[in-house]
Structure formats: structure tokens, C-alpha cells
Amino acid sequence: MQSSLEEVDTGAFTLMNYYTAFSRPRYITALWNSLRLGAMVTVLCLIFAVPMAWAISRTNMPGKNFIRLLMLGAFITPPYLGAIGWILLAGPNSGWINRFYMALTGAPEGIFDIYTFSGLAFVIAIYSFPFIFIFTAAALDVVSSEMEDAANILGAGTVRTTLKITLPMVLPAIMAGAIVTFLEAIALFGTPALIAIPARFNVVTTQLLQFFSQPIRAEVAAAYAVPLLLVTIALFGVQKMITRRRGFVALTGKGGERRIIDLGRGRWVMFAYSMAVMTLAVILPYIVLAQAALAKGWGRGFSWDNLTLKNFEYLLFQHETAAQSVINSFTYAAAAAFIAIGLGLAIAYIVSRKLLPWVDVLSFLAMAPFVVPGIVLAIAFYAAYAPPPLALYGTATILILAFATRFLPIGYANADAAIRSINPEMEEAVRILGGGRLMAIRKVMAPLMKRSLIGAWLLVFIPATRELSSAMFLYGPNTRTMSVMLMDMSEEGNFEHLAALGFLLLAATLVIVAGATAFLGRDFMMRREKK
């Protein structure tokens, strides 16, 4: 914030940066594009997610577990990797879908062009809708069937009851999910960089990248990022209000059992719909990425003589920085996760036991990075740590610190939930029997929180391994992460190597998630965060 008001050389107070940032029409257009994009993505996500959440939570749709599994797949897919999958699928002329269409109809050109505004919105939406799904399903899971029975007994049918009773009751949850989705969409960097830039239009985040390319105009970027920050803070305020004022969401919890609605033949319709969405989000992109990763040239299609492992070999043993970037991603993410959890835990303990005055402020600060888009955070880090005397720009330290800050709210929220889930009487029992506070933490609190803290660590670690938006602005020659590497390769149009690298990232994530799921239970990743 501060640097947006400073003159570059003198540090004097000025509004010039704001003037520069908003002086040209195309800068304003980018801003407008972002808002339109957010709205379009949100609408698409609602269409994808709400019927699925209802079907999975309340009906006898077949294959629920399978759909849930695919949903987890969509959730853990880095959006930029999905975007690359879709470039391979729906790139004009060369994309698989278009080639297939042309072969089938003999048309001179394909039907889909991913390099358009609606293409961008679509690709973002199919990797954002799990947010709305999680919020909505969680709310539907606690709506008692008795509410619906009460409508039935008064003469309303299933459809009418669902539309008039059930959906309105979970509307606040849907709204909350929609807001999160909107904010994700406008703060996203990777997907717009891959699609909007070739399509020759800008959104806020890609415009920010241009302010950051030589000559770096960080002050202007800072000024330009301010509206994004303000929109985010305002909408999070709205979301907080919605979730707090949920008077009519009957969260009775235990009140009444929840029966499953029998859809009759309609359950296959719901299944087909869910599978269609999942095919677009997970199955098709994964297939083409796998093909590209194992192909000598992805355009040559699916054939045995096109099959090779050379791409992986090249990445791991020949490319000068690719192998290093894999190591970087995982070590930075691990370090950031330790910092975020450690710090989050310490703050959560101090807050819950009120050990210091002003604990509410502390709690607010720990949650604050949550409302800061990654890209804005990166600019702030650049402004704060890049200049001497710290001169941390491009170092591992600045990346780890940025990741840790970005994911501190996850660490804090989870540590807080872990502490709250333990009755303070557990600790008081130690003290009244003669043990001090440290003894209570060591012998009782720590062992009891072990499992949830491992879960929390993973919840930070997984997004940190693929974090792009803050890394993009802070990396140096030796500190590239996989995400940065992927973006570079896409600029070179090197899709085979890119897909292979993406596959390494995905495979590693899948192994970790699968292990954690076995150890911690299925829902550890997709359960709704308690805030």
C-alpha cells in the first residue's frame, strides 16, 4: 500500500502512481475484464456445482463415491495445468476436439477456440466449482429431512420442496461459496497468463505482470493492485456477514435424520450430468496431458511409435533447471508449511487461552493474508524485501516467507480448530493435578493434536507446491519452482516437456493425498474450513 503512494527515487508522497496506473483506457478495460470474468466464472460454477452437491448430498444418484473422487481430482489440479490440458484440447485448429470435429465434418476450422474470453471463463470455472460444491454440500448435509417432511405433509411435492424449502435454506452457503469463487477467479494468475495473453486481452493480474516486466514499475503495480485488494476485502466482508447471519439455515446438527431422496430414473440423468462435468474437468484434460507427456510430439496422436519416456528423462537429467525446480518446489513448500503451522499454532494457542492482551487483533492479523490475492502479496513482498538492506529478491528465503505468509491463514484456521476441538478441561485437569502449562502442552495437547496438525501441514504443503502467483514475481535464476518452470515452457510452446513436468507434480500430489486420505480419512481435504 505504502509504496503506491511514493515517488520512485525520492520516496515523497505522491498520487502520480495512481494516475499512471489508471490513465490509459486499456488499463481500465483490464479491470472491467476481471470483474466480468469473475461474474461469468461464478455463474458457470453455480451451474456445475449446485445440482451435483444436491445430488450427492440428498439423492440416490449412483456412483457418488466415484464422483467425489473425481471432484477431489479437480480440486487438487493446479488451474494452470488444467488450462494447458484445455489448450491441447481446444486450441484453434490444433486442439484435439477441433481436429476431431474437422475430421468428422470436413469443416475447414474447429468449433471451439479456447483463446477467447468465454474460453478463459470456462477453463477457470471447471477448476473453481469445487469451492461452491464443498460449501453447498456441507450445508445440505445438515438440513434435516424433517424440514422437507413438513413441506411434504402440507402437500408440496419433491421438486417443489427442493426448490422452495431446501435450496433457500442453503442459499447463504451457496452465496458464500460463490463469493470465494469470484475472488479466486479475479485473483488467478496462471490461467489468464496462458489464455488471455495469446488472446490479446488483459485482466488485472496479467496487466500487473506487465507492470512488473522490464522496466519494473513496482510502484505503479502497487497502485494498480489496490482496487483488486479493495474488492476482495469488501466481498469477504459480505461473505462473513452472510455466514454469520445464517439464522434460517437450520444448523441443528443432530436434529432429525436425513433421508435420501429417490430420484427414480432421474438419478441416471443426474449421474450423466455429473460425469459430463467431470469429464470436462478431469478426464479429458488428464488424457491429453498424459498423451503429451509420453509423446515424441503431441500432435502426432495416439500411436505406439509415438510413445516415449524421453520427456521425463530430459527433464530430470538433461534440462539444466527442471530437476532443480522440482526440488525447490517441494523443499520450499515443506519449509513454508512448517513455518505456517508453527506460527499458526502459537498464535491460535495464545488467542484461545487469552495469554496476551489484544488477542483479537492477533487473530485478525493471522487471518488477514487470506483476503490478499497472491499476486498482491507478491508485490507487497517485493516492495518490502527486495530493496537493500534486505535485498532478498530472488532468494529462497523470500519465496518461503511469501508462501508461509500466503498460507498462514490455513495453518492458523486449522490449528485453531484443532485447539478448539480439545476441551480446555483436558489441560485444566493437568494443572489441578500439579502440572504446569508446558507440561499440559507436552503431555496432553501435543499428542492429541498430532493428527489434525499433520492434516493441516498437508493442507498448506499441497497448495504451496504449486503456488504460482506469488512465485512468479519473486523467483530468481536458481530459485525457480515447478509452477514457474511450467509457465516458461508454455511460453516456449514446449508442451511435451511441460506435460511431463506437470505429471510429476500431479503424481507427487496424488501420492501425498492418497496417503493422507488413508491415514486421516476421506474428507480431510474437502471438508469445509471452519472460520
Partner: protein
Amino acid sequence: MSKLSLIGLTKAFGSTKAVDGVNLTLREGEFVSLLGPSGCGKTTTLRMIAGFIKPTSGTIEMEGQVMSSPAMMVPPERRGMSMIFQSYAIWPNMTVGQNVAFGLKLRKLPNAEVEQRVNRILEVVQMRHLKERYPSELSGGQQQRVALARAIVIEPQVLLLDEPLSNLDANLREEMRSEIRRLHDAFRITTVYVTHDQAEAMVTSDRIVVMNLGKIDQVDDPVTLYGKPKTRFVAGFIGRTNFLDGRVDGSQIVFPGFTVPKALAPDANELSGLASFSVRPQSIALHASPPAAGHLWRIQGEIVERAYLGEYWEYVIRPDGSEQRIRVSTAPNVVHAVDDRVWLEIDPARIARVPPPDAA
């Protein structure tokens, strides 16, 4: 000798006083209950005794040593007390044996002695065979026994219990409240027991402290408390009762629908103006014909409601010419119909004088 003293103990949260000027002294080995509705300040009082909450004013002393005052507080771990929590707070990461041994190990006792004392106390609470189990494998009643064993094994100066039976079902609750009293008879540990259940308090306690709105209403043994409640709140909270509100007129007391000679009332010499009394439903006799005159209160009226509860009949009687409703319970074989004319008889010895309404 007094073991534990609360002197003018007060705790304010913001502008509301949760505990307001409580004075109480416990003798060595005494079992005292804090009884009252939720929000009456009983748990706050207990947590102040434990050292988890600092008083706003007043002090807590144990054997003459100041434990808590607004200026200083001995932390819970240095009070030599122990406590049983509402949630039991059995540590799920330790076995039954480890839970019970915890306090002894903190006192750096030799292992052999720890082992021996743990075994002995588990024997007492009938949990010896479950020593190696983890708490998640135990029923609610068993967890309760572990909590008791863990608290008692260290032979604390004072034992504190915070509604320990509120999470158990009714049968188990009756069993455990007798168990708690049995353990107290065996170990004679000075005990403060917080509950909102009058039956629990009456079964377990030497003395009961009835609290209301942060203040003590009455401190007495169970028999006195039930028979001679001093306030309308105590009379209404401990068991069911009828309030009879009248006015002294010369040598008579005039109630709605009946009069009684003043000389037959308790504390007859102190009565003047408004006079109120509390009478338990089972302290009233019910007759179908006029009883012979004597030293008992006599009231004439008719039955307006009745209900059969198996163990007893419950009637509601309206004295002639009034809107007063008097509840009477009788043995199951005393049968009257609604609209029957009846005579009530009350022994003055079983009547308690209470303050008139709104004079509390």
C-alpha cells in the same frame, strides 16, 4: 478447624456479578454442595477455588493461607487440590493406568509406590481389570470412575467436582452419586460439589449451599433445608411446594378462602402484617368429612383437578371463596373425585415461614 474459607468472594464479568459476596467455610473432611440453577454462579465459584479464575474482590484461604485475592493467585498446580470435570477430561492418549498415575508421577513418588497406589484406587472404583484400556474403549460410567480415581489417588487437600454426573443417564446417575458418597466416607477428603440436581446434593452432602443470582440463599444440612427453607427461592427450588400468603388480623391470620389462629403459626410472636408460609404437598392431609378440631390448620374447599401418578395421587384443591390452588399428594389409596368437597389438615410443625412475595 476450618479447611477452606471463602471471604466476600466476588467475580464480575463486565458489569454483571456472576458471584456476589459469597462467604463460606468448610470444615476438614466436610462434603459441601453448591446447588442452584444454571447461571447462579456455582461453577464460577468452584473455578475460583481451583485457581482458574481470579476473584474481582474477596479472598480464598486454605488452612489460613491466602490462595486467591485480586492481588495474587496461587496457580492451580500449586494448590494441592484435584478436580473432576463435567467432561471428565480423561486424557484419551493415555491408558486408564497412565491417567491415574499422572498426578502421582508429578509428585515424584517412587515407581513401586505409584504402581501400588494406582492399583489400590482402581480396586476401590472397580476398574482394576481395565487398567490397560484406553478411554475411548470405556463407557460413560467407567470414564467417570477413572476420573474419580485420578482425582482421589493423589489424596488432595480439597476435591472439587463440577457437575460430574450431568452427562450420565438417569440410572447410572443414581448409582454414581451413591458411589461418590461412599468414596467420601472412605477417604474423608474435604469436597466441594457443584450441581443443579437437588437429589444429587441431598444424597451426597453434609451441607448444601443454595445459590441464586450469584448470592448464597441458605446453607444447611439436607433435612433442615427441605423442612425449613428460609426463602421462597429455596422452598421452590428444593422439591415442590405451596406458598400460602396471608395477613395478620388481630389473633387471626387471614388467607384467601380461610383463616387460621395466629397462635397455630410458626414464629407466631414475630408475625405482623403480611405473613407467608411454605407447605409441601405431602405434608397436607386430605379428608372427605370434617376432622375434629385440634391444633392443626383446617381448610375447607373442593377438588378442581386430580392426576394419578402411580406412586401417589396429586390433587389440586381450591379453598372456598378463593382462587388459590393448593397441591396435595396422597397415598394411592386415597381417592376423591373432581368437585368433591374436602377438608385439608396441616401440622404447623411442617410449615415453614418464608418472606412475603416481592420482599426477597
